[in-house]
Amino acid sequence: MLSVLCPMHVVLCPDGLITSAGPTTQKLSRQQPVVGRPFLDVFEIKRPREITTLEGLREAAAMKLHLQLREPPHRELKGVLMEGPDEGQMIVNLSFGISVVDAVQDYKLTAADFAPTDLAIEMLYLVEAKSAAMEASRQLNRRLQGARVAAEEQALTDTLTGLRNRRGMDSILSDLIADGENFALMHMDLDYFKAVNDTMGHAAGDYVLQQVASIMLKEVRSHDTVARVGGDEFVLLLRDVEEPAVIDQIATRIIERIREPILFEGERCKVSGSAGTTLSRNYEVATADQLLGDADVALYESKHRGRGRHTFFSEELRARSEAAKIPLPRAQAPQM
């Protein structure tokens, strides 16, 4: 009867020898049968405290026991011990507890090795079902992650300011060149921006960039393009330019408005803007690199003359900058 109700039990005689064992208990020892051996030779009692004597074992009746098989792979078991019907007899019922997943593999157990009331099979079912569901979710996550990276790589927008990013600017610039449009390329960068970032924190810096972006968008016309191409660097593509004075007006207004202090959490952030512009009509054959490089020369001149101003590119400027051998770092904007 005990073998059906508790297939993982052992019965001990008064001197601690195993006199009989349930069919599942018998599978636990591959080296020699458990029946006939002292219980404490087969199992080590780890808790409630280390029990090494029969008296100690007897005192642990009705308690939750943590046991470990002395034989490899040293599986841990749970158990409970009670006095048997005969004088001095003890009965221990065992269970694998949480290690049941490994145990069924180790001992090649089947559903028949567990009592019909035992939840072990349900637990194994759940472990497998959950692993399968989890794996499906993991695959979905991996695919979504890949799609996200791809989408970011293809993005044309700067997420912080909502302006075009470097890639977005490049594609519009090459379209303008290909269509032979008459346009101005203005390169503007912020002065003292690093100081704001360093002393007031990145949140203040990000706020300044957003405010500057909104100023630029308000000052340009609807068919113009504003892009943030680096940390504090912007490129403006201004179309249909007949009169350079208009460009100068736009640049000056932007620079004036940027110069006004920007309030962030009650503190004043002070930056200014320097700009340089080149006009596409000054080139017989314009290339993006040439235009960007020349706007850079003009920007450098603005910085050189004291910042917070706007300069048009001219051949004279180029000659001067080449003569001075001023290293002109062609703005290597980090990819955003």
Binding site: V104, K108, L109, Y125, L126, Q139
Partner: protein, 195 residues
């Protein structure tokens, strides 16, 4: 409808007939995409549309198709995990039959928002049973006929199955167990986890 169900249909077509056929199904059903995600939820109207498209493209009668899908779910090596989960239902085919009532609850334990057809097993005689299926998709009785046929094979049992038609949305499958230990069956080790 849960993505697992839509994806099962997709895998059936891909594994049995090839990816181009599935692409044709996706076009015919006007999905706008080719791959179902197993862990997403789709509009309920999509599944009947996909099944109709499969039936069209493969030129198979709908009921037969449903039964084939059922058989595929249990017997194809790519879905070994599912076969194993079903085998947890019982040590013998009869125990498995009796576990079918719990199947929707078992599925929900694993994937909380997965709803399977409601199943009920009735015992009419020592070896005579019937299974009633109530589901959102017409033909789920045919699908379970396929599942039962494949599971009987898995357990090594010899059964005679017959779809008895549909009444008020309830489909009935009669099951006659001719021999419980007819063949060897496929093994099932508790510890051998399907990948």
């Amino acid at each position: 409808m849960h993505g697992l169900i839509n994806r099962a249909i997709q895998r059936f077509v891909v594994d049995s007939y090839g990816a181009p056929q599935w692409a044709a199904v996706a076009r015919r059903a006007d999905l706008g995409f080719v791959e179902f995600e197993a862990m997403w939820t789709y509009d309920d109207a999509i599944t009947p549309r996909v099944l109709a498209a499969v039936s069209d493209i493969l030129d198979r009668p709908y009921d037969e198709l449903m039964e084939d899908i059922g058989t595929y779910l249990v017997s194809h090596p790519n879905l070994e995990a599912l076969r194993r989960l079903l085998r947890f239902g019982g040590v013998t085919f009869v125990e498995f039959l009796h576990s079918l009532d719990d199947l929707p609850d078992r599925a929900r334990l694993a994937v909380a928002d997965l709803t399977l057809p409601r199943l009920e097993l009735r015992e009419h005689g020592p070896h005579q049973y019937s299974l009633t299926c109530v589901g959102d998709i017409p033909g789920c009785g045919h699908l379970f006929t396929g599942v039962l046929r494949a599971m009987a094979d898995d357990y090594g049992a010899l059964v005679f199955l017959e779809h008895r038609g549909e009444a008020d949305g309830v489909e009935t499958v009669s099951i006659a167990l001719l021999e419980a230990d007819y063949a060897e069956g496929r093994g099932f080790e508790l510890g051998a986890q399907a990948s």
